[in-house]
Every structure is written in structure tokens, then in C-alpha cells.
């Protein structure tokens, strides 16, 4: 549908990824300089000029699997490593968070404010690195240039395209369940009170006019909702009060990252069905991936840097268990490279995919929870 959707999808999911990584780096007590390096490396890679150029080219959205590959690569742009189960969980959390923001955003245009909330927070992560700050501001400028001229209808088409992308994902997220913004069936709670979107009137009034345009009758009705007028519109400037809270960092030390992994059985079934439909997009999708990933410059960790593994679960046992019990139909795995017939393309992708299979920092060492501790001791 809208060919202007990918930059917004990528930047907002990326923003959510950084919130989660930041919180887990703290929770896992990774030393400050190491944690900063990881955040800086990932943000530098994410806002790479060549990559942004590819991203902002008008194009269709591809599958969740294809996009997952991009984030897999991005998350591994530094000295930190994530295993399959943690990466799955990270991607689930990111996608559900942004799905919630897209669903709830008051006007379609407010997706831009959600994006700015993410960029504002990202700028705060790298406030001491002026070079990277410039990169992010450059992307901000590109966003303004691309989106400020779009009509409300075009923004609605972007929103509808995003909603199609997120359709049928009902993963339960504990922070949402606790905040009572998600139901146990995985559907989000829609408020019927609070401020109406900017430019909308509170429902309840009917006005009738005669042939001359004079108001001749006015009646009221009750709606069952309890709305008020919004106080002001959020700022679309480089610096400003966005007013809207969607897209700000919802995690903190007291509100850690957790997930419940099960969807309801019915939803799982529909996932399964989706996966067995042969995907004629495979070839285009691989071309897209090759183009996009080609723009991601990954620096191989230098010999002197010690890597570490980040766990999205509280314990390694939990992580292992998640890997074993994850339903097959929720598996993102990696895209089937055999799908393409062009040998050159296939070789290129194999290379890219190969690079993605990053080894654990110290395979075969102590294992379980001690592994990370051992690493720390080794510093």
C-alpha cells in the first residue's frame, strides 16, 4: 500500500529495540563504558547515511521475517551477542510495543510524533557523542522533508499499511498486562475517555441548517464515552513538546522487560496457516534485504574488545526453555535462501546471512549463568 511506510516502521521498531537493550544492559550490570559502546555502535549503524538513503526510497513493506533479519544484524553491530531465544523475545517486544503505538495514535499524522519521541530518546542515549547526534538530526531532517507535505489521507494509508503488517500478532507483554492496556487474549484495550484527537470535536452535538445556511436546530445525544478536548497539539519541530506520550521509554529498573510468549491457541493456528502459503515474494524480499543490509556497515569486533552475551530473560534456564517451547509457527528463523535462482544474488545473501550467524563469545565455556560472570571476571 503506502510506499512511504518503511522508514517509520524501521525507526520506531529500532527505537523500541534500543529502549529494551538499554534496560537489559543495566539489569545485567554491564559496565558503563561497555554499555555505552554497544548503544553508540548500534545507533551509529542504524543511522548510517547510506543505509538511511536505501530506507527512504519509496518501497513496499516486506514480511516480519525479512525485517527481523535486519534487526538481527543491527543488534549484532557491536560487541554484544544475543542468542536465538533472546533475539526472538526482543523482536516480539519491539513489534508489540509499536503495534500498540500505531493502534492508539490519535490521528494518523501522530505516527510522526511517535517517531519523534523515539528519536528524542535516542538522542538522549548518545548526548555525549556529537558525531552520532548529527547523524540522528540528519534523519530527523529527512523525516520532516518526506512527511511534512503528506495529507491526512496519506498518513491514514501509512497507518493502515502498518496495521496490516502487525495484523494477527497477539503476543502478550507483561508490562502491558500489568498496566491493563492489554487483555489476556493479546488484544489491546481501547480507551473511551480522555482527550479526542487534535481537530476533532467531543461527540454529542447535532446541528441542523436551513436552505440559507442558518442554524435552525441543535440537539444533543449521549455516547457512552467520556471525552474532553485536547489542550494543545504536539510539536513537529526538531525540538519541542510532543505532548503525546506514545513512543517514549516505558521501561525502567522498576518496570523491567518481561514477556509471556503464548498467544491463544486460535491465533497460533492462524499463524500456522499463514506460514504454509507459498510466498511468491521471496525473491523480491531477498533483493530488498540485500539492498538494505548492504547499507549496514558492521564493524567486526576488534581483537582487543571483549564481547559479551545479553540475555532477554532473567536466567539462562528461562532462555533455554523459551527456545525449546517456542511454537514452531511463531518462529522467525532465517529466510530460505534457496528461493532465489540467481547464483550471484544467492552467494551475496549467503555471505550476509553467514555473517549473521555470530558465534557466542566463548562457546563451550562454563555455561549457564556463570558464563557472563566469568566474562566479567576476565576483564
Amino acid at each position: 500500500m503506502s510506499a512511504r511506510t518503511l522508514p517509520l516502521l524501521f525507526l520506531n521498531l529500532g527505537g523500541e529495540m534500543l529502549y529494551i537493550l538499554d534496560q537489559r544492559l543495566r539489569a545485567q550490570s554491564i559496565p558503563g563504558d561497555k554499555a555505552r559502546k554497544v548503544m553508540n555502535d548500534i545507533i551509529t549503524t542504524m543511522f548510517n547515511k547510506k543505509f538511511m538513503e536505501e530506507l527512504f526510497k519509496p518501497q513496499e513493506l516486506y514480511s516480519k521475517k525479512a525485517l527481523r533479519t535486519v534487526y538481527d544484524r543491527l543488534a549484532h553491530a557491536s560487541i554484544m551477542r544475543l542468542n536465538q531465544a533472546s533475539m526472538d523475545k526482543l523482536y516480539d517486544l519491539m513489534t508489540m510495543a509499536f503495534k500498540y503505538q500505531v493502534l492508539l495514535c490519535p490521528r494518523p499524522k501522530d505516527i510522526l510524533l511517535v517517531t519523534f519521541n523515539h528519536l528524542d530518546a535516542i538522542k538522549d542515549f548518545i548526548r555525549d557523542a556529537p558525531g552520532i547526534l548529527n547523524q540522528v538530526d540528519e534523519t530527523f531532517r529527512q523525516l520532516t522533508e518526506t512527511y511534512s507535505c503528506l495529507s491526512a489521507g496519506e498518513f491514514q494509508l501509512i497507518r493502515q499499511t502498518l496495521l496490516i503488517f502487525f495484523q494477527d500478532m497477539h503476543i502478550r507483554v507483561s508490562i502491558f498486562l500489568k498496566d491493563k492496556v492489554q487483555n489476556s487474549n493479546g488484544r489491546f484495550v481501547l480507551p473511551i475517555s480522555g482527550p479526542v484527537p487534535w481537530g476533532t470535536e467531543v461527540p454529542g452535538l447535532i446541528r441542523m441548517f436551513n436552505h440559507n445556511g442558518d442554524e435552525v436546530k441543535r440537539t444533543e445525544f449521549t455516547t457512552g464515552g467520556n471525552y474532553v478536548l485536547p489542550q494543545r497539539e504536539g510539536s513537529f519541530d526538531l525540538y519541542g513538546d510532543r505532548v503525546l506520550k506514545l513512543g517514549t521509554n516505558m521501561y525502567s529498573v522498576s518496570r523491567p522487560v518481561e514477556t509471556h510468549m503464548s498467544g491463544s491457541s486460535k491465533n497460533l493456528a492462524s499463524h500456522a496457516k499463514e506460514n504454509i502459503v507459498p510466498n511468491p515474494l521471496a525473491k523480491e524480499e531477498l533483493n530488498f534485504l540485500a539492498r538494505l543490509l548492504g547499507g549496514l556497515e558492521i564493524q567486526k569486533p576488534g581483537g582487543s574488545e571483549t564481547g559479551f552475551r545479553l540475555n532477554l530473560f532473567t536466567t539462562d534456564e528461562e532462555e533455554e526453555n523459551a527456545a525449546l517451547t517456542r511454537p514452531e509457527e511463531l518462529s522467525y528463523k532465517v529466510i530460505n535462501i534457496e528461493a532465489t535462482q540467481e547464483p550471484g544474488r544467492r552467494a551475496e545473501l549467503s555471505r550476509i546471512m553467514g555473517e549473521l550467524e555470530v558465534a557466542e563469545p566463548r562457546p563451550g565455556s562454563a555455561g549457564k549463568g556463570e558464563e557472563l560472570l566469568a566474562l566479567m571476571d576476565g576483564l
Binding site: 500500500m1 503506502s2 510506499a3 512511504r4 526510497k57 519509496p58 493502534l103 490519535p106 490521528r107 494518523p108 495529507s151 491526512a152 489521507g153 496519506e154 491514514q156 494509508l157 497507518r159 493502515q160 496495521l163 496490516i164 495484523q167 494477527d168 497477539h170 487483555n183 488484544r187 489491546f188 484495550v189 481501547l190 473511551i192 479526542v196 484527537p197 481537530g199 476533532t200 470535536e201 467531543v202 461527540p203 454529542g204 452535538l205 447535532i206 446541528r207 441542523m208 441548517f209 436551513n210 436552505h211 445556511g213 435552525v216 436546530k217 440537539t219 445525544f221 449521549t222 455516547t223 457512552g224 464515552g225 471525552y227 486460535k266 492462524s270 511468491p280 515474494l281 525473491k283 523480491e284
Partner: protein, 341 residues
């Protein structure tokens, strides 16, 4: 809330869908077949259409995959589906990113395929067809993202369908098209087209379509439109419903109806009841009438229903009196039904 005279609508047995409904305007189509005591329902999900037939005892399901003409490999997303009832035949019309497909009403046979010219558009511009209506006894009108309205001449049977005219009076993507459901007053048009910017055009159909009035945009998308006894009912992105005189384009009523973007309107031709559904999770039933003394258009609120945690994307009456209606929403694999007891 509900006026005592109109009677309450109560929730009835809902219909399970094989796949959930997409967040698209007017994403529910209902075809009552009173002679056979059947009602057909359909909603769009990505590249496919979920069809359900209810016969009073049970439901039969059918999934229709959007078949594309030509050699193209990529699937395309559907934007809308609607049954078009002409005096001679009923066709199921699907619009997508690639073009327009017309099927026999049960979805069994594709009788016509019209491809959109994708190459003539700049790459940043989305290309799709959207807005479907039967009009003038033998035409089916379909809108496009570039603002064109294609008029197809439909023979009583067979596949010899042709584009008889292209209406070029909109500058923005067409959102919805509606034909007169009641009796058009003398000189009033019998077709209305709406677009993304909120512009409405009223036409009279025939050998050649004529533009009768153009209602200018006021900065809000008109997502859904209906035409009844010379009154245009339009639903907007700011939650308002506006009623206009079809002959003159004069604004006759303005309703602050919903707290968020309206996605669907429907009208029951025998009673003038208007149904609206929006992202705010509400559906409302209104009643339109004309004051015989002053000729003013009047509207009253009859019923409101909160479809909890559902951004409504489709709402349709199931009978011409408006005694029952059906609703679906984004991400929902269900059609809720309501009826008056």
C-alpha cells in the same frame, strides 16, 4: 440513550471468520438474499477475502485469494470488496493494488479483470483501486488512487464488460462511491463519489455521466458516503457526519458523531436509518428524515453501541428496514450482529 420509539438493538450470535479483518474503510459487505433466506458477509484480510454464508442454521465459509491477471509474481493487498446488485445480475467486485476483479456473486468464477497501469505513477505514490458501487441499472463504478472513477458497462450476462467512461473530477484518491438508495428528487443526482481530501462529487448517471455539484473539501478525508432521497450522508476523519443536499451541495446538518476517524456508513433505504462505525470503537444508529413543512433535513440519534476494544472498520445493515446490522473491526476474526427485538 436509545429513543423509546425505536426499540433497542441487542447483540445476537456472532459469526466467526477464518481470518481477521484489515483496517480498511468500509471493510464489510453484506448481501441479503431474502428469497433463499440467506445472508452473505465478506471482509478483506491482506491478499484474501473471507466470505461467510449464514442460512439461519449454520455458516459456510469460503476464502477467496485475489487472483491477479498477467505474469506478475507478487501478491497484492486487497483494498475493498463489495457485492454490486444490478437488476440483471449480482457481481462480487474486489479492488486491490493491482486492479479490479469481478466475480460471480458466490466468488466461484472471475468474469472480468481490469489491471491498473502501475508504471505511469511516480514511485512514491501508492497505486490501488478503492470505492465500489453499482449505479444506473447497468453500471459498476470503481475509484482509483489517482482520483479517477472508472465506469464499467455490465451486460445482463457474460463477460463482455467494458469501461464506458472515465470520470476525472477528483484530484485525490477515491475513498468511496455510493448510488441513490431511495428516490432521487427531480434534478438531483443518483451517484456520489468521495475522496481522500474530502471532496464530494454528485453525478447523474446515464449514457454519459454528468457532474451536478461538487462539494469542496474542508481538510478532512471523507472515508464513507451514502445517498438517500437526495441527501448525501458523509463520514469524515474528524469523526463528523455531514448531510448535504445532493442537488445544491448545501450543508444541511453536522453531527459530532465519533471521537475518532469514521470508517463506515450504511443506510437502510426503507426507513432512512443511518449506521456509522469508527475507530473510537462505537457504532451509532441515526434516523434521517425531511420536515414536510420546511423541507429541512432532520437527524436524530437512535442507538449507540460500544464494541469493546475494537476499532470498527466495517458496519452494514442486514435488512432494508435497518432492524439488524453487522459490525467487524481491525484484527478481529469475528462479525458481531445486532438486531431489534
Amino acid at each position: 440513550m436509545a429513543a423509546a420509539t425505536s426499540g433497542m438493538y441487542r447483540k445476537e450470535k456472532s459469526i466467526q471468520l477464518k481470518s481477521s479483518s484489515a483496517a480498511l474503510y468500509n471493510n464489510l459487505s453484506v448481501l441479503p438474499l431474502p428469497g433463499r433466506q440467506l445472508t452473505c458477509f465478506s471482509t478483506v484480510h491482506g491478499p484474501s477475502l473471507s466470505m461467510v454464508t449464514a442460512d439461519g442454521l449454520g455458516f459456510s465459509h469460503r476464502q477467496l485469494q485475489a487472483k491477479e491477471g498477467g505474469m506478475t509474481v507478487s501478491t497484492s493487498l486487497l483494498t475493498q470488496a463489495a457485492w454490486c446488485v444490478l437488476p440483471s445480475r449480482v457481481l462480487l467486485v474486489l479492488t486491490s493494488q493491482k486492479g479490479i476483479q469481478m466475480y460471480e456473486s458466490d466468488g466461484s468464477i472471475m468474469v472480468y479483470w481490469h489491471a491498473l497501469d502501475v508504471t505511469e505513477h511516480p514511485p512514491a505514490q501508492a497505486v490501488f483501486a478503492r470505492g465500489i458501487a453499482a449505479a444506473g441499472g447497468r453500471f459498476i463504478c470503481v475509484g482509483t488512487s489517482s482520483g479517477l472513477v472508472l465506469v464499467f458497462d455490465i451486460p445482463p450476462k457474460g463477460t463482455n464488460i467494458m469501461v464506458s467512461e472515465v470520470l476525472e473530477r477528483h484530484c485525490d484518491a477515491i475513498t468511496d462511491i455510493a448510488a441513490e438508495l431511495g428516490q432521487a428528487p427531480d434534478g438531483a443526482g443518483d451517484l456520489v463519489t468521495a475522496d481522500d481530501a474530502g471532496t464530494l462529487c454528485v453525478w447523474s448517471t446515464g449514457e454519459e455521466f454528468a457532474l451536478l455539484s461538487k462539494i469542496p473539501a474542508f481538510g478532512c478525508t471523507c472515508s464513507s458516503v451514502k445517498l438517500w432521497n437526495g441527501i448525501v450522508a458523509a463520514g469524515y476523519g474528524n469523526g463528523q457526519i455531514r448531510l448535504y443536499e445532493a442537488t445544491t451541495g448545501l450543508l444541511r446538518a453536522e453531527v459530532n458523531a465519533h471521537a475518532r476517524w469514521i470508517y463506515a456508513l450504511d443506510l437502510a433505504p426503507q426507513t432512512g436509518k443511518l449506521l456509522s462505525g469508527a475507530e473510537d470503537s462505537f457504532v451509532h444508529v441515526w434516523k434521517l428524515s425531511r420536515n414536510l413543512d420546511t423541507d429541512d433535513v432532520e437527524v436524530e440519534h437512535c442507538h449507540g453501541e460500544c464494541v469493546t476494544d475494537t476499532q470498527v472498520c466495517g458496519a452494514r445493515f442486514c435488512d432494508p428496514e435497518g432492524n439488524s446490522f453487522a459490525v467487524t473491526g481491525y484484527d478481529l476474526s469475528e462479525i458481531f450482529r445486532y438486531g431489534r427485538t
